[in-house]
């Protein structure tokens, strides 16, 4: 067939008309969506008017509100980092929140792996969820880049949600959610670290359980008695063979868990100064904490090697009865975990040489995407969800919910003694010093300091002197 000019022009026109038709179709398709959004906004406006009633109803008993919204609900999305089981529990909570909501409906997506990478790329491409979980390490970074919605005024004007009553929060948790005097996240957990102990293993080794007066030395003595080689010798025995260990007294891993910061604080040192100008990790106090931690691994051999921990899972090694003591988050509930061999209980971590037992608090927040198309509906959802999560997770950094009764109600299966420990540990939980760009500091800390320290390639004193300038180069100028 000859391909002439007329045919080409006709084909082109035909194709362009098809394209226009298709685009027109797409436009038509999006028109109702736009209308829906407009209606949604109107609903949101109405919603904010009815929020008070809805919120009051929820607070009163969580029954479905009868307030008519007068339009379709705004569709919102939420991202969380929960694993399979935790996500199921969260979904059940969200289902109740959605059932009560009149102005919105939230769909959740859980991404336990690479959560922050996914969130950041989602924010960059404009596809991130309206509401998401963010932890203390990342909140200020996201806020400094304008990715989070400023919640200050919304929270101030909200008189209905208990989660919006800022007077009820511990100041430290609120400070961690604040960047340049603006509030960007409502905290739903602020957990101190506690010492999980396998009481059966203690009993078998003839070691008394920890007391509230335990010091580092007491802890070390117990850990040595509980570390046993294949011939039955314990780590405090001269004939002990550190190459053939079958049971360990304690466990840590090379990815900075439990956080070395905790031991530095307990020895009276700091990782980052309060004004964020220096990283005094080479002060005598800091070095004492760092070296103590490294010695547990390389000198006293009371914890498995980094590779063993990586391959076998460090909390799993505790629940399997291979490790007698484990520092974990208060909410980890290792005592009631499936497959826990022996009776476990949470105790306070031992006191350091500076006389304190400070631990690094893990704080997580609900935050809103600054580019959310429905910020008002997203706020209502965030406040409702935060209210609900705060009855699920422990410990919540709210004074009214940090009581023994409230925690026991949230986690009824846990031993009462563990709940007492959690309540007692709360005052000593402190947020890590975090600033925008902290990820760069943390990377140098982990790769240049913690990794060689735990592998025993150099002393804490030498490494600290070498790494301090590198860390300080990343601090805010």
């Amino acid at each position: 067939m000859p391909f002439n000019k007329k045919l080409a022009v006709t084909s082109l026109l035909l194709i362009m008309s098809l394209v226009l038709a298709a685009c027109g179709d797409a436009t038509n398709t999006s028109a109702p969506a736009a209308a829906t959004t407009a209606a949604g906004s109107a609903t949101t406006a109405a919603g904010s008017a009815t929020t008070a009633a809805a919120g009051a109803t929820t607070a009163a008993g969580g029954t479905a509100t009868t307030a008519a919204a007068g339009g379709p609900k705004v569709e919102l999305t939420m991202s969380i980092w929960a694993g399979v089981d935790e996500a199921k529990e969260f979904q059940a909570i969200l289902d109740k929140v959605n059932a009560s909501a009149t102005t919105y409906h939230v769909t959740v997506q859980a991404s336990p792996q690479d959560y922050m990478t996914k969130l950041q790329t989602g924010l960059a491409s404009g596809t991130a969820a309206d509401i998401f979980w963010v932890d203390v390490d990342n909140l200020s970074g996201l806020a400094s880049k304008g990715s989070l919605l400023d919640l200050t005024d919304m929270v101030k004007n909200d008189k209905t949600h208990p989660a919006a009553n800022l007077d009820d929060y511990f100041q430290g948790a609120l400070d961690a959610g604040t960047y340049k005097s603006k509030l960007y996240g409502l905290p739903w957990i602020s957990q101190p670290l506690v010492l999980y102990v396998n009481l059966d293993m203690f009993k078998a080794a003839g070691v008394n359980p920890p007391t509230n007066d335990w010091t580092w030395d007491d802890f070390l003595k117990a850990a040595q008695k509980l570390t046993v080689d294949t011939s039955g010798k314990t780590a405090d025995d001269a004939a002990f063979n550190p190459k053939q260990i079958k049971q360990w007294g304690f466990t840590s891993n090379s990815a900075d868990w439990p956080p070395t910061t905790m031991y530095i604080w307990q020895a009276g040192g700091k990782t980052i100064s309060d004004d964020f100008k220096t990283s005094p990790i080479d002060s005598p106090e800091a070095v004492k904490g760092e070296q103590w931690y490294a010695d547990l691994v390389n000198k006293y051999h009371v914890t498995p090697t980094a590779t063993q921990v990586k391959d076998q899972g460090f909390d799993t090694m505790f629940t399997n009865g291979k490790v007698a003591m484990f520092v974990g988050g208060a909410a980890d509930s290792l005592e009631t975990r499936d497959g826990m061999k022996g009776q476990a209980q949470a105790f306070l971590v031992p006191k350091g040489p500076a006389g304190n037992r400070l631990t690094q608090a893990y704080i997580a927040f609900d935050a809103i995407n600054a580019k959310s198309k429905n910020p008002q509906a997203a706020y209502t959802a965030l406040a409702d969800i935060t209210d609900a999560i705060q009855k699920w997770k422990v410990p919540v950094p709210r004074k009214s919910l940090s009581t023994k009764e409230a925690i026991q109600k949230a986690q009824p299966k846990r031993p009462a003694a563990s709940i007492d420990t959690i309540v007692a540990a709360l005052p000593d939980a402190k947020a890590a010093p975090v600033y925008p760009g902290y990820a760069q500091w943390a990377d140098i800390w982990n790769t240049q300091f913690i990794d060689p320290l735990f592998r025993g390639t150099d002393t804490a004193e030498n490494l600290a002197k070498k790494v301090r300038p590198q860390l300080e180069a990343t601090l805010p100028k």
């Binding site: 391909f3 000019k5 080409a8 022009v9 084909s11 082109l12 194709i15 362009m16 098809l18 394209v19 298709a22 685009c23 179709d25 797409a26 398709t29 999006s30 409906h105 769909t107 922050m116 990478t117 950041q120 790329t121 924010l123 960059a124 970074g141 996201l142 880049k145 304008g146 990715s147 090379s254 090697t305 980094a306 590779t307 063993q308 990586k310 391959d311 760009g437 990820a439 760069q440 990377d443 140098i444 982990n446 790769t447 240049q448 990794d451 060689p452 592998r455 390639t457 590198q470 180069a473």
Partner: protein, 334 residues
Amino acid sequence: MVGDPIGDYLPTLIRFVVLAVVVLGVSVGVHYVLRNVFHLKRDIAIGFSLITPWILGFLIFNLIPIVSTFVLSFTDYNLQQTPNFIGTQNYETLIGSDINFWPSIRLTVLYSVISVPISVTLSLLLSLVLSRNLKGIGVYRVLYYLPSIVPAVAVVLLWRWIFNPDVGLLNLILSPILNLTNTPSPDWFGDEKFVLPAFIIMSLWTALGNNTVIMLGARKGVAGDLYEAASIDGANSWTKFLRITIPMMTPAIFFLVVVEFASAMQLFTPAAFARATPAAGRFMNLLIYTYGFQQSRMGYATALAVILFLLILAATIVLFRSQARWVYYEGQER
């Protein structure tokens, strides 16, 4: 909530159809312009219009990202905010003061320079064995190729177990020698001395299958009459191997060296999942990921990506320049 599958998918379907129609429209438009504006021959115009979709794909998915990478490497792009132009600051910081930069280059280049020749040599030798007409040779060929179709992450997890210092297979096999010489068991991924050998051993296992198939094809392509002629001239097996087999297979060897080197320099999956000690340095691609996605320093990460690109480009140019000395193409006069 279970959505409406048809309703949810409809906008995507419409976009898909519109895209296809637009691409077709552009193809026809290209034909029209070439014929009527540039007055090219019909065959040429049809040829260009037919490759238009691929050119469009290359522009959108390759060229624009490549150019963007170069441009972003001169900015402070942090994934969230509008990038600001900062000149050559990223490059200066990388080369001048980044503690991870030189160890990363060292590890990546050493890995590539050592693993590629070993892998290509082994696959050449293996292809000679597998090219023989033995009974059940097909089974062996399949067995050697199998590792290539195992997902990379599964391979790494498997090797993490093999390399485990306490219960791993490799140290178990090595234990008689280690005990005899009173040497401690190597902590393959935990000790910086063993990280590079561990990655090289792991890479051989997967690369060997693919490379051997290509080598086998090349070996089978060597004409039998060359060997016959050589036999008549009194050449022994070793001479035939050196004077016929190797020269005739050099195009395949050259291809593998170029492709494998570029791929080795860009190693990512094993590096990300092996969780080796960072004391040995981090592979360049992993460092790019760390800077770009974990620290949100995308401008800085793209500068490192540009350096990686330049290293691969330089190596490829050197290899291409060298082929006149050692690669023999059939029909070529020497």
